[in-house]
Symmetry: C2
Subunit: 336 residues, 2 copies
């Protein structure tokens, strides 16, 4: 390193130092939740963060323990008409079908090719596993990432008319940023394959691959022309919903979160487990109440049913974000 | 927040800014590897870090991609006479034995109780899994952490006469710190249960639980007197050695590391996979050559055999840290 490099770095450091010195106070309580309406929901979030970041206060949690977990589909982005990964799987099955003529008459492929969602739902977890394995395997990890990114670039959520990577709910993006700027790690929990979301979670949510928790396709170490690669196999370690989520989170994080964000009965145990930790915690449910800006559904939905968890949450003082009451902007302006 | 708090924070920020401004240049190349001798090995490490942190240079890697993986037993700490987790398991089996009278005559418990290590080795992976499951399960995750910490507080490595949590190799602790101060995440890879090492990895290595990769005991969500807990079950998702390590690392990190540190043939594929990535990388083997300060073993060892990997590494230009040539201090002074 020559002395000019050092000089330049020192000047940059000095500039940064002065910028920090004269900037408004950041961290605890600095309110960047611009799309959230003032009211008890927003206040509960701000107060929680203020309490756990208040050094010397009774609820202080040092940064390594500031673990927050977010359910993905329906909490960070819409899951209607179908979650992004299911849309990807259906498109992949269609693209692969010419190679497998028997799929035309064989379930669950037949229903996938005819986009018969109720028949697909009837095929259950086993059917979904079979489709996922077919859509996600038979290539290296790098090839899979390219496949996902190419698909994202040319596909839109049909109801919102936005690319899937521009469907993130703006208030939740603000919340992710707000928590991270207060020393939190923000994990995303997804039922499907972690690899699918990892390909784009950093770009869209600012969440690196290692902070995406989900099911895991198995990979195998192989030499391709002498070069070691990992090949995705048609085998799956499934993360179960509901009571399966806390063990899956613990397996990755090695500790209990202090904040959990969900939107459906699949998230109930994850929020219960978080809420039962020692010390201060936040358990928040996103309630889809706005059919005009997004979607309105709860107790009778096919994807994202919110019934038991809504009752349990109300009874136990969880924070409920009612989209209509609590938010005034839903998406960034870059979409339609 | 009252104005006095803000004032205090601003004064602290100003003090910090001035400290940064007038401190020696940090980051790239600042040499804190005090226990390493000058020479080609240390130079290779410093040059690698300088290259990947040199913004604008051809080998620059932005911080999120700076993933380093360290094998645990034999790389970060001695694995002789037996690795720490095996010592824990043998002690636990002994403590539990009065409850299970049949263990006296039943393998692998019989050999564990008589500390017959060669018979234990003959019981293979299946035998070790049976012992691990018995030693590690039947309690909540919190109870297990206490059990491990209590054991650590009263047990020593018999040959080094140091508590197991003071057996870390000082040059490797310096290396972990050095990499982290240059924007790396430093993962530890352990063959045994991640939960065992997670209980103390933060204290000893500065590595948080979520950056320990290993086998996973399965946990189950249960309500204990109405409170949700995770109970450790006698079932194990085993991380295989050798070719099993890259998939296990990928499952957690979602990307290929750019630096890998190992010491035995079990680490070969992990280093090969790392070395085959695009761009700059570092593959380093720790070679135990110092029977005076630590232990001397390689091609014929029971724990930590280094044979194929040594040949492959030498042939392919990997960095080999020869303990005798490359290090002059081995442990902190807090032990014996």
């Amino acid at each position: 390193m020559d002395s000019r490099t050092i000089d330049r770095r020192r000047v940059m450091t000095a500039a940064l130092a002065l910028a920090v010195l004269f900037s408004p106070a950041r961290g605890n309580g600095a309110d960047t939740l611009h799309s959230w309406n003032s009211g008890p929901t927003k206040f509960a979030v701000l107060q929680f963060v203020k309490d756990v970041t208040n050094a010397g206060g009774p609820d202080f949690v040092p940064p390594p323990g500031r673990i927050a977990v977010f359910s993905h589909d329906g909490t960070l982005c819409p899951e209607q008409p179908v979650p992004a990964e299911l849309a990807f799987i259906l498109d992949r099955i269609k693209a692969l079908a010419p190679r497998y003529p028997r799929w035309k008459t064989k379930e669950p492929f037949k229903s996938a090719l005819s986009r018969n969602l109720s028949a697909l739902a009837a095929s259950g977890t086993r059917g979904m596993l079979e489709l996922t394995a077919a859509a996600h395997s038979g290539m290296t990890t790098a090839e899979f990432e390219s496949t996902v990114m190419n698909w994202l670039a040319k596909t839109r959520n049909p109801r919102l008319n936005r690319p899937y990577d521009q469907c993130a709910l703006l208030p939740m993006l603000e919340l992710l940023d707000f928590l991270r700027s207060n020393g939190f790690k923000t994990y995303i929990v997804v039922r499907g394959d972690a690899g699918f979301l990892r390909a784009w979670a950093e770009k869209v949510y600012g969440v690196p691959p290692e902070e995406v928790i989900g099911s895991s396709i198995r990979t195998k170490f192989e030499l391709h022309k002498g070069a070691p690669v990992l090949v995705r196999r048609p085998e799956f370690d499934m993360m179960e919903d509901g009571a399966g989520r806390p063990p899956a989170i613990y397996r990755v994080t090695g500790r209990r979160p202090i904040a959990a964000f969900g939107n459906s009965d699949r998230d109930l145990e994850m929020l219960q487990w978080t809420a039962a930790g020692e010390g201060r915690h936040l358990a928040l449910l996103v309630h889809h109440t706005n059919g005009g800006n997004e979607f309105a559904y709860d107790r009778k939905a096919t994807f994202g049913r919110l019934d038991k968890a809504l009752d349990f949450g109300r009874k136990n003082g969880w924070t409920i974000a009612d989209m209509t009451k609590d938010w005034h902007r839903f998406f960034t302006n870059t979409g339609k």
